[in-house]
């Protein structure tokens, strides 16, 4: 381990202060030279990815782009370049810029920064935890969602606090606009429209910058790719397809092939979005309304962003017999059953035809109608994505109660895109092949704005740290949903879009929304993303909660209205001189009861009272889980040397030798989660590690002694430097 520490420091310093300027001077012209290779003229039909000639754009080989003589070059050097302005890209760029790195955000279309192309909603089970965690680290998604919500509801309220989930319907346009304003007004952050087509490599397989379609080179020691659905994206409506990243926006071409050329494995995924209808043509009178919560909850831990707004209503409708019949009659017209799209879609987000085919016995499926904004008439038809051709989509919508006379504004479509299986990344989200290159968001095979934002902030932090020569950070699985998400991505060989679910975390009870700040804000502070004001807000809250818990432990009551009320609600007797704490531990007793009888603490906010209540009510469970986790952590966080030759380990099963070589886990715990690796393999691995350690120790001691002996005899140190460096 010691030797590696050394390497990092050297490489970091050099890339920042030494390497980059040097390389820039003589590397730039060379690169420009290679850019002049001819490209193939437009081909209208889309050929399979296999051929490298399928580019439909033309570049006229011009002398201008080739002769980038230094004196004409405006300084296009940055510390970090973020490619893509979606939810991953924004968080990455913001985190990086806020950490002081000179950051460039390259996007295909500045007007579409932070666009929500699917459901304009943030949060939901497990996803809300991600949003809270990103916010606790100093990210943006939670604040923006808090500012432009149309409706907010806490789901799962009848369950325990670990699965409470805040979900916000957001105003699509306002969301994008606010995020764009934030990105535009952040210091150290430049924005530019560009289509990145290639990665510039340095001598040591390190990234040096990117190259755009129109022949620009931008230089930085760290590059974050957040390509979303744009990389060789192709959208489908029925049997008809066109190259596009999403409806109305061109795809990004060329980057996939160039990444493949660098040795990256790519694959294809599919996702879809339902049609939008004009809400003025919908008859809501017979539909079940779904109102927002009366008392609104917040994603952000920063009270400055807690501004209440008027809420809008969602509605519920259902599929009918006619819906099912129409789909059954036209199954051959859908991509899955017609068999012309083979890319895998997510299981948790099936098209309506999949639901109807797979669950024949279900007579009806719920459909949610959700507004997309305060000033637009569009209505999102949740649960109704389909691969049917456009001519059938309106008839299909009109089979739904309330939508009998609706008009459709946008058709449902599916999108197919390239992603890079994330086992090619470390848990810092830096790629294993190219130093300084980071991947985030759908390029890693996830779906969802929240998943993207979570990866974005981590890659942004690490990209900035890398450019500054600092060590990279990895959130352990046990620390957060963010850590769990990334650990799953890089460890498991995932072949369908990955969505966060609470059941993916083994430590759900400890990774709650209410404690996201006390888990991660200290880290955010340490990294430099939490400013003094926010830090004080956090510390004050922590102090108040702690003080209140102390108070509840000491204040005792005997009899009285409170005791009577508690007895009635919990069905349990209240002993004389009970502490308030012991009352809170009883079933069905919430902090509000204390408030009601004047035993509460008016200084506390609702969220703070909730913290107090959770800590007290579930103390036994939390403490037990915590100690289980600590026990595990000791074993699981043992690091694995990165250069292990798994193929040489004959005591491992063949399958695990293969899988471990591919994934190259960083810790024992990660190794044990790789598919196909059995506990016996882990034992064998531990034995080999220990044996190697001792062998190395022996060897080292032996050689040092020998050389010292040689050195004291005759002043030659030659053999020493040669032999040990192995």
């Amino acid at each position: 381990m010691a030797t590696h520490n050394l390497n990092i420091n050297i490489s970091g310093r050099l890339t920042r202060h030494f390497f980059t300027p040097l390389l820039f001077i003589w590397a730039a012209p060379t690169r420009a030279g290679t850019r002049t290779r001819t490209r193939v003229l437009p081909i209208r039909c889309y050929l399979r990815r296999a051929s490298n000639f399928s580019r439909r754009f033309s570049v006229v080989p011009s002398a201008a782009s080739a002769s980038g003589s230094p004196e004409w070059n405006i300084d296009e050097r940055f510390d970090v370049i973020v490619v893509g302005g979606g939810h991953a890209g924004c968080e990455a760029a913001l985190a990086s810029a806020r950490l002081g790195a000179k950051t460039l955000l390259l996007t295909l279309n500045i007007d579409k920064i932070a666009w929500q192309p699917c459901n304009p909603a943030v949060g939901g089970p497990a996803k809300s935890q991600l949003v809270h965690e990103v916010d606790a680290l100093g990210g943006e998604i939670g604040k923006v969602a808090d500012m432009c919500y149309l409706q907010k509801r806490v789901l799962n309220t009848s369950r325990g606090p670990a699965v409470w989930a805040l979900r916000a319907q957001t105003d699509k346009r306002e969301y994008a606009m606010r995020m764009k304003n934030i990105v535009e007004s952040t210091a150290n952050l430049c924005i530019r429209e560009a289509m990145v087509t290639d990665i510039l490599l340095g001598k040591n397989d390190n990234v040096e910058g990117v190259c755009t379609f129109f022949g620009m080179n931008f230089y930085a020691p760290s590059v974050v790719l957040t390509t979303g659905t744009f990389m060789s994206g192709k959208i489908w409506v029925g049997r008809t397809s066109m190259p596009a990243g999403r409806a109305g926006e061109s795809a990004s071409h060329g980057l996939t092939e160039n990444l493949q050329r660098l040795g990256f494995e790519t694959d294809r995924l599919k996702t879809g979005t339902p049609s939008r209808v004009d809400l003025r043509t919908v008859d809501f009178s017979g539909l079940e309304p779904q109102h927002g919560d009366e008392e609104v909850s917040w994603f952000s831990f920063d009270p400055d962003f807690h501004i209440e707004r008027e809420q809008m209503c969602c509605y519920l409708t259902r599929t009918t017999k006619r819906t099912h019949q129409l789909i059954k009659d036209n199954l051959h017209e859908t991509p899955t059953y017609g068999g012309w799209v083979e890319a895998k879609g997510p299981r948790y987000c099936p098209a309506i035809e999949d639901k109807i085919v797979r669950f024949q016995d279900k007579e009806s499926h719920q459909i949610f109608l959700e507004p997309e904004g305060r000033n637009v008439p569009e209505l999102y038809v949740q649960g109704f994505s389909t691969g049917l051709p456009e001519r059938l989509q309106l008839p299909l919508l009109r089979t739904l109660p309330g939508l009998e006379n609706c008009s459709m504004l946008r058709p449902a479509y599916a999108v197919e895109y390239d992603y890079l299986p994330a086992h090619q990344c470390y848990r810092s989200l830096m790629t294993k092949k190219v130093e300084g290159l980071f991947f985030s968001g759908q390029i890693n095979g996830t779906t969802g704005y929240e998943e993207a934002a979570a990866q974005g902030i981590i890659s942004g932090i690490n990209a900035a740290r890398h450019s500054d020569g600092k060590s990279l950070i990895v959130l352990e699985r046990e620390s957060s949903y963010v850590g769990t998400l990334i650990d799953d991505l890089v460890t498991k060989d995932l072949r369908e879009p990955y969505r966060m679910l609470t059941s993916r975390s083994e430590h759900r009870l400890l990774l709650r929304s209410d404690n996201a700040d006390s888990r991660l804000t200290p880290l955010g502070r340490e990294l430099g993303l939490i400013d003094d004001r926010r830090w004080k807000v956090y510390q004050d809250k922590l102090a108040r909660v702690s003080e209140e818990k102390r108070r509840l432990k000491t204040v005792r009551i005997s009899g009285g209205d409170l005791a009577a009320d508690v007895t009635r609600l919990s069905g349990q007797p209240v002993k004389d001189s009970s502490t308030l704490e012991s009352l809170l531990k009883k079933p069905h007793i919430q902090y509000e009861i204390l408030d009601k009888h004047g035993f509460g603490n008016g200084l506390l906010s609702r969220a703070e009272k909730q913290c107090v209540e959770i800590d007290i009510k579930y103390e036994g469970f939390i403490v037990r889980q915590q100690s289980q986790l600590q026990q595990m952590v000791h074993q699981q966080h043992r690091p694995l040397p990165p250069d292990l030759d798994y193929y040489a380990m004959t005591t491992l099963s063949l399958e695990s030798r293969e899988k471990l070589s591919k994934v190259r886990p960083q810790t024992i715990g990660q190794a044990s989660r790789v598919g196909g690796v059995s506990p016996a393999d882990i034992t064998a691995l531990l034995i080999i590690l220990e044996a190697n350690r001792r062998k190395a120790q022996e060897q080292m001691r032996h050689q040092v002694l020998a050389s010292v002996r040689a050195d004291s005899n005759q002043q030659s140190e030659g053999p020493l430097t040669e032999t040990i460096s192995s």
Binding site: N9, S158, A162, R427, V474, L509, L542, V623, Q630, A684
Partner: protein, 564 residues
């Protein structure tokens, strides 16, 4: 110490004369500073002084572990309240096993050993020192032994009955074989005593040790030297044991079918509950009463199994010997002759025995279960086919395999084929079960012992018998004892180990279900139920460490119509 000045000169030398590659410096540094903490800081300082003055060094990106800052912070809110949470957690769980040989003639003393961070706590729960009764009348179970001081006392089971009187030898870390806290309980040598003491320890929270696990820990904790390391690798046959256990459990019943079905029920319940947690608004509400009924039924099953299982009877089964061979070589006759019974039906027709038939004998005081199997051959008869499959599974799980051939037919090609099959099975599970060749029907053929020496290489021993007259059975018993004596079957017969493991699984499950029931009684919300259900499912796993999340998720997606 005399070396130090010269070493220092090496360092200064190198720094002044030319910028050498980093590793040698480091190795010297680490040699100088034995404590790892010191080592790290030294390296950093060195590297800084270094990088400012040197040319770029080619780095292999694969070998640069950029990700060296792993972040796992504790929840500050928890830390603020509880102060530092206790650091009792070691690297490993606490394991227990009988470490003296069993299966041979009973010795005067046998030892149950526990190792791990909780060893003292666990012994404290089962062991009551006899002297100083009045001094520690509180009986809170906080046993605080002095390392390497023997204490006399009794072991109690969970009902408080005395199991055995024992000497407890505490050896606290690091002054022990495994460098963990070790407690050895010296009991009376009888197998039943030893196993009851072990069971008490397992009930108090220890885990049943895998074969060779004590030695493994000793090695991993830096105890054994490197030359012994190679032996450790051989010692760890966890893989083969697990495979054989699974094969054996499949045919032997025991608790295995119960374990499997309870696990399936746990997963099913988890699926139901988890689906509601992640897809709240899309699912029909859960019928809580139904769930509760299922949980109650499940825990009743487990409890009954543990109560009624005649544990002591189970304890007394020792070695397991499988008799295999092609059809009609006299396997069943051998079993009958050996067990002096008519346990197996014997006819002239090949393929008479179709299922596994058991008979018990005692060899030199060791209880032995003989398993007569269907003759192994290719067959289209469905019943016989299943019999053949079972034969192979039995052979895989047995402690000794007896392969029977007929002296009348000599060594045939079918015999070779069969032998190959057994050996490749053994190879795939990496087991090294000893094999004995029995040449039967010796009365019907002239003994040409030379012929058998050739094939004898594959076997540990070969014996001539006549199942009809009982001739040669004595020789066979001697051969077995010799082999068993050589091979030292770890922790008793394998069959016992299988059942012991299942028993432990059920015990853990019971505990989890008890906790689950109390969660329900305390009216804790649904998601708290999953914590203990998960624990139960994990305890029941055939192979520990399996990924329950994925299994539950694919069940959810398979079973429910979910997603928007």
């Amino acid at each position: 110490m005399a070396l130090l000045p010269s070493l220092r000169s090496v360092i200064t030398h190198q720094l002044h004369h030319r910028p050498p590659p980093p590793p040698p410096l480091l190795s010297i540094a680490s040699f100088l500073f034995h404590k790892p903490k010191l080592r790290r800081t030294t390296c950093k300082n060195l590297s800084f002084s270094f990088s400012s003055s040197s040319k770029p060094i080619t780095l292999n990106p694969l070998a640069t572990p950029k990700d060296n800052t792993l972040v796992f912070k504790k929840d500050e809110r928890l830390v603020a309240d509880n102060g530092e949470s206790e650091e009792k957690a070691g690297t490993f769980s606490t394991i227990a096993a009988i470490v003296t040989s069993i299966g041979g003639p009973p010795g005067a003393v046998g030892i149950v050993r526990l190792s791990g961070p909780m060893a003292v706590d666990i012994v404290g729960r089962v062991f009551k020192p006899v002297k100083k009764k009045k001094k520690k009348s509180s009986g809170s179970g906080s046993w605080r032994p002095t390392s390497h001081v023997v204490e006399y006392g009794v072991v109690l089971d969970r009902h408080g009955n005395v199991v055995d009187e024992v000497l407890a030898v505490p050896m606290l870390a690091p002054r022990s074989y495994t460098r963990e806290d070790v407690v050895e309980l010296q009991c009376h040598g009888s197998e039943v005593c030893l196993r009851r003491v072990l069971r008490a320890c397992l009930e108090a929270g220890a885990t049943f040790a895998q074969p060779g696990e004590f030695t493994l820990r000793a090695f991993l904790n830096g105890r054994l030297d490197l030359s012994q390391a190679e032996n450790v690798e051989k010692l760890i046959s966890a893989k083969s044991v697990a495979a054989a256990d699974a094969a054996l459990a499949g045919i032997q019943g025991g608790f295995s079918s119960l374990v499997t079905s309870v696990r399936a029920k746990c997963i099913e319940l988890l699926t139901e509950i988890e689906a509601r947690l992640d897809f709240d608004d899309e699912m029909p509400p859960l019928n809580l009463n139904l769930v509760m009924d299922k949980i109650h039924a499940m825990s009743q099953d487990v409890e009954n199994a543990l109560e009624t299982a005649n544990y002591d009877k189970l304890l007394q089964s020792g070695l397991q010997i499988a008799i295999v061979g092609r059809p009609n070589v006299g396997k069943s006759s051998l079993l009958n002759a050996w067990s002096k019974s008519e346990r197996a039906i014997v006819t002239e027709i090949a393929g008479t025995t179709r299922d596994v038939i058991e008979a018990s004998v005692t060899v030199c005081g060791v209880p032995v279960t003989l398993l007569d199997t269907a003759g192994i051959r290719k067959t289209d008869d469905i019943v016989e086919k299943i019999g053949v499959e079972r034969s192979e599974a039995v052979a895989l799980g047995a402690d000794v395999i007896i392969m029977t051939v007929s002296a009348v037919d000599g060594w045939t090609s079918e015999d070779s084929e069969l032998l190959n099959r057994i050996q490749s099975n053994k190879k795939s599970t990496e087991s090294s079960t000893p094999m004995i060749l029995v040449i039967n029907k010796i009365d019907c053929a002239p003994s040409a012992s030379n012929e058998w020496n050739k094939v004898g290489n594959s076997f540990n021993e070969h014996v001539f018998t006549c199942a009809v007259t009982g001739q040669g059975i004595q020789d066979l018993e001697t051969a077995i004892m010799e082999i068993v004596g050589l091979h030292q079957i770890p922790a008793g017969g394998r069959r016992w180990a299988v059942n012991q493991r299942q028993c432990e699984q059920l015990m853990r499950t019971k505990e989890a279900l008890v906790r689950l029931k109390s969660s329900i009684e305390e009216e804790l919300p649904l998601d708290f139920w999953t914590i203990d259900l998960r624990d139960a499912a994990l305890a029941l796993g055939q192979i520990s460490g399996e990924d329950i999340s994925e299994e539950v998720l694919s069940n959810i997606f398979g079973k429910f119509c979910i997603g928007k």
